[in-house]
Symmetry: C2
Subunit: 311 residues, 2 copies
């Protein structure tokens, strides 16, 4: 099979740091061009818009959309209509309605649409799923606690409507949980803590229940000082599994079983190539759906105002 | 075809006022029993739970779930597993995740699942859809304004998380809009006005855009004094269509074309019987999805506290 001719659309930090090296290292792809209103490395053919890029390179097979969620729908719709396979960064859209419609359009166009969730490609995720298959789950505890001032310094958009606040990292945890748990779970009740001067939650305490009835609890917090925590603990009849450090470590009953360097984007692009090869889709909106359910059903409490400058 | 043996589950106001007479008047159904912890008319076999009802009447073909959204998933799941067709009152669940899973379970069980939206069976809805088919839409304006003190007196649940506030009636407008517009539309931006002492919005000003780009604006308000308004205006290249009084009147350029008495639940049960007869599903969660999208993306503003007693 010849290489997939791909263009990157949107050339912000995630495109430069993750998409570009992952594509350059994968022989399944030929990175043909970049579309972005801003500057890109001189070594790459550059267009100021996706439309201009597809006009100039009509033989493009695929695009990776690394633009903000608010403009993702229009670009994805155009790319599918022009015969391209489409990879969506997370979250796959600003709204669930858009994602549902894109899935329909991809089927009509007979192109691969991949709503990617990079955390699902962390090294311990697949082994965790495998380990859980032969155990009965008793309960799940998700702890996703990081300092917003360290990881999102000055990014005011994260506090705006659609920015999702602490759910911006929290959705990564939900993307892992929905990937490793065999049965669906549903939001039941919870609290969203919203700073007095902001729109989006700075912390959330969420109670889900699985279809079989076991609890899935999640604590997200943007105010974490000291050690940063991205852990999922799963109590089973055969011991306690812990996915730690965002899915790069797997522990059973506290004993380290696996640790591997972060390889999320290479795995993500491997999956995209496989989907294209098989003519399949992967449009799992369930992490975003859980966030929307939490916004719909969660109780809001107002907490202290948030300011970037701390004294 | 023999009559569909059906049981009503939950016997609150909507079951007594709407479901019971609609079933009694429709020869396609035989109303066999009612399951409810509260009292029901002596003329009907009565069980205190759905489980007890299905144990006692194993030949039941279908159930209509008129219970609150929070308990709908568990009951629907059980009824499908026991071989019953299931009708869900609106909204079809407390969360979108549940509705998605119920749809999967219905396919596995090969039973009809009908996520009903009673407003879609208002008399002018189908004629409006037909009229629109040959016109190009320019814009849509939804006005859904009622006095919560008249229509939901003392119902504190409506202000709680999950009660949805003004979206409780507003979702009826969205269920009509999604039924009569041929193309999907997406939430873009809007404002949710939330009373200082409540969790759910008392008013909402919502901006959607259709896939083709025309605007769909919606103004919901629970503070309406004087005339109550449940109108949808659709500007087209062939005149302006107005669905008025919740879908019971159809006007074109202000001229009344059609007016008919409210017949929503008879139409709803006719549709359920047709779906069962054809072995089909109708699980359109799009009205609830639009509400979740608006909660996810809408800007919240705090407004005056709301109290039931007005001076």
């Amino acid at each position: 099979m010849s290489a997939i001719r791909i263009g990157i659309v949107g050339f912000g930090k995630i495109a430069r740091d993750q998409h570009l090296p992952a594509l350059n290292d994968n022989p399944a792809y030929e990175l043909v061009a970049v579309a972005s209103p801003s500057r890109v490395p001189d070594s790459l053919p550059h267009y100021t818009s996706m439309t201009a890029m597809l006009d100039a390179v009509p033989e493009m097979d695929a695009v990776a959309l690394c633009v903000p969620p608010a403009v993702r729908y229009g670009l994805a719709s155009e790319a599918l209509a022009r015969g391209c396979h489409v990879l969506l960064e997370k979250p796959p859209g600003a709204t669930l309605a858009e994602v549902g419609e894109l899935e329909r359009q991809a089927r009509v166009a007979d192109r691969t649409l991949f709503a990617s969730w990079h955390s699902r490609h962390a090294p311990a995720v697949a082994p965790a799923r495998e380990w859980l298959k032969s155990r009965r789950i008793i309960g799940v505890d998700i702890e996703w606690k990081e300092d917003v001032c360290v990881w999102h310094p000055g990014q005011d958009w994260i506090w705006e409507p659609g920015g999702m606040g602490v759910f911006d990292p929290g959705i990564n945890a939900l993307s892992i949980a929905t990937a490793i748990l065999d049965e669906p779970f549903f939001f039941r009740e919870g609290v969203l803590a919203v700073p007095d001067n902001r729109q989006a939650p700075i912390a959330a305490d969420l109670g889900f229940a699985s279809a079989a009835g076991y609890p899935v609890n999640a604590a997200f917090d943007f105010r974490q000082q000291g050690p940063q925590i991205w852990d999922i603990h799963i109590e089973t009849d055969g011991g306690k599994l812990t996915l730690s450090k965002g899915g790069s470590q797997l522990l059973v009953d506290g004993e380290l079983q696996l640790e591997a360097p972060e390889q999320e984007y290479p795995g993500l692009y491997q999956r995209f190539a496989e989907l294209i090869g098989r003519g399949e889709h992967d449009v799992d909106a369930s992490p975003l759906r859980h966030v929307a359910d939490a916004f719909l059903l969660g109780r809001r409490v107002i907490v202290d105002p948030f300011h970037w400058q701390r004294d």
